[in-house]
């Protein structure tokens, strides 16, 4: 009796589907609309009602974006920045996560608490001194000014610690120790293989964040050839008369790589976000 009741109870009412479909529509529509605008010529946007279907001008608009700002350079810059940051965050977070999750050392709890506490402090608040430091180092208007401060982050360490605590069997490490393996060998041959799924998720999240970062690159980069994609976008937007089809084509170009990654790996990203959450 109880199985029947259970099945009936959890069969979702039609209203649930309708609500979720509506949410899905509102989630997707603005992105779809950016495609619509990006494929229209600018004069079509002055019509009422506004166009709701894609037009034929996408290729032309894309060409204009690359002519108006050094967008190719911006894409390459963003790729360099995001890839470097991702590799570094994943490596250092896994190292620190391994230490916090499985190795015993003095003050480990206090240090981990410090990591978690600083997750709550917005990095933005240190922006002025960070800028002064970059002037001192002579790094302003260079990609390393964007890359170096982001090479590690507290979230990554917290995330890897959480994952390795559960996923890495302590017996496996002990067995390795008995066989005489030093820690660095344990790291390469035991920890890294186990950490691979979490490392992939952390890598994707870090890449997304680095690719989408805006405030700090805007502050520290000043010449268009050094812009990252987001700064180049805002540059397209500024000016008294906005060519919306141009701007939204740029927006689309900057978002498409992420949408592709998301389409291919979205399941894992979702798994990662749900894993990183504080559970009730």
């Amino acid at each position: 009796m109880s199985t029947v009741a259970t099945i009936r109870r959890y069969r979702p009412p039609r209203l649930a589907y309708l609500t979720l479909l509506a949410v899905l529509f509102f989630s997707g529509f603005p992105l779809y609309f950016s495609l619509v605008v990006a494929s229209q010529d600018n004069s079509a946007l002055g019509r009422m009602p506004p166009p709701l279907l894609p037009g034929a001008n996408l290729v032309d608009n894309v060409r204009r974006v690359f002519e108006t700002v050094p967008f190719g350079a911006a894409l390459v810059n963003s790729l360099i920045v995001s890839a470097t940051i991702t590799a570094s965050v994943v490596l250092f977070s896994t190292l620190a996560g391994f230490a916090f999750a499985k190795l015993k050392f003095r003050a480990s709890n206090t240090l981990l608490l410090l990591v978690v506490a600083t997750m709550m402090v917005p990095a933005q608040l240190g922006i002025v001194p960070l800028y002064l430091m970059m002037i001192r180092f002579g790094w302003t208007d260079s990609l390393q000014a964007v890359i170096v401060p982001a090479l590690v982050n507290a979230f990554g360490v917290f995330f890897m610690t959480q994952y390795l605590r559960e996923a890495l069997p302590t017996e496996l490490l002990e067995a390795g120790r008995i066989d005489g393996a030093a820690s660095h060998r344990l790291f390469w041959h035991v920890v890294l293989p186990v950490a691979r799924p979490a490392a992939a998720v952390l890598g994707m999240l870090t890449f997304l964040t680095a690719w989408n970062d805006y405030f700090w690159p805007l502050v520290v980069l000043s010449s268009p050839d050094n812009y990252t994609v987001q700064v180049a976008l805002s540059n397209l937007r500024s000016g008294y008369v906005t060519d919306f089809s141009l701007v939204l084509t740029g927006t689309l170009l900057a978002t498409v790589p992420l949408l592709v990654v998301f389409g291919l790996l979205g399941r894992h990203i979702i798994g990662g976000i749900m894993q990183g959450a504080v559970k009730g």
């Binding site: 899905l24 620190a96 230490a99 002025v128 002064l132 590690v152 005489g180």
Partner: protein, 333 residues
């Protein structure tokens, strides 16, 4: 495990076995032991060192240094930095534009966060049901989160356009009439809040979903047998059970919301409005205010740093207040 066990079984080919003579002890065992002990005691610090060194230099040091800079008349335009004590703070607290920015930030924060977390709860609750195409729905919820804030701000600025925006067209067709979203205080706050909510609702729904999956099923079963409606189940079972997660999302959203920058900056049409947050500063947020003083008008680093510290103080106070409030709500329920 004890420290002596590994040394008893030296693996063939371990680097140290070839150099026993360089150390005291009959067969190099003590070298093995010492190496092992050093490995166990020292390596953890080696592993966390890269993180803490970089983090200290580029994360913690600037935070403290902000306080030092905030006590100076510190500008890019002059070589000398005069110590001025709390003058920057005094000036800040008497500046009407600062209070305006604070009001705007809090208004946008509340408009953007409260409905967002409420909808996220409902969506998560729906997602716990046995749905067909579950993965599809979850992916769809997260889609907005993949777009950058710049992309979101640009797209929504077009949607909220006064003359040719889609939203005004819809409002006009249903007889409400068009709204000049950028011009008004309330309307611009609503538009910016929509951008924030659009980007983050699905993300928070997934976090709630993760927490909800840990709630024991039989609680719902007995509640259903007692005839409790889904709304009643949500408020009496789900919400109390996932309280830590709710506190977490409230605090994170608050911290994020207090730093809003890209949305208002790009929502303004162009020119100086992008820094003042509209022609009459109707949507200038605290971070825009900081940006205006630190990186636009004469690079007043001391003044901008004072703003950063006041913002930090506000964040701490608001986060603490949130924590207490959410806890209170739970215990009275």
């Amino acid at each position: 495990m004890t420290t002596t066990r590994p040394a008893a079984t030296v693996p063939p080919g371990a680097p140290s076995t070839g150099t026993p003579g360089r150390h005291r002890g009959p067969q190099g065992t003590s070298w093995q032991q010492r190496r092992y002990r050093w490995d166990v005691k020292g390596t953890p610090y080696l592993y966390i060192a890269p993180f803490f060194i970089l983090f200290a230099v580029f994360g913690l040091f600037p935070l403290g240094y902000t306080a030092w800079v905030s006590l100076h008349d510190w500008s890019l335009l002059s070589d000398e930095q005069t110590f001025v004590g709390l003058a920057n703070y005094r000036e800040l607290l008497t500046d009407a534009y600062f209070w305006n920015a604070l009001r705007n930030t809090i208004s946008i924060l509340i408009l953007g966060t409260v409905p967002q977390l409420f909808f996220a709860l409902i969506i998560a609750h729906l997602l716990t049901m046995r749905l067909r195409g579950q993965t599809f729905f979850r992916l769809g919820m997260l889609l907005p989160n993949v777009a950058s804030v710049v992309a979101v701000a640009v797209i929504f600025s077009q949607l909220f356009g006064r003359d040719f925006g889609l939203i005004n067209w819809v409002l006009e067709s249903i007889g409400v009439g068009r709204i000049d979203w950028q011009a008004g205080t309330a309307s611009s706050h609503i538009a910016i809040a929509v951008m924030i909510a659009w980007k983050w609702t699905g993300y928070n729904a997934l976090i709630y979903l993760a927490a909800m999956q840990a709630v024991p099923r039989d609680l719902y079963e007995s509640a259903t047998l007692d005839g409790a409606s889904w709304w009643r189940q949500l408020t009496s079972i789900t919400i109390p059970m996932i309280r830590p997660t709710i506190i977490f999302t409230v605090i994170i959203s608050t911290i994020y919301g207090l730093q809003i920058f890209a949305e208002p900056q790009l929502f303004a049409g162009g020119g100086q409005d992008t820094i003042t947050g509209g022609s009459s500063r109707q949507f200038q947020t605290l971070t825009l205010y900081l940006y205006e003083h630190g990186f636009n008008r004469g690079f007043q680093f001391g003044y901008a740093s004072a703003t950063a510290w006041v913002m930090f103080g506000i964040i701490v106070v608001v986060a603490a207040a949130n924590y207490l409030l959410v806890r209170r709500i739970r215990s009275s329920a």
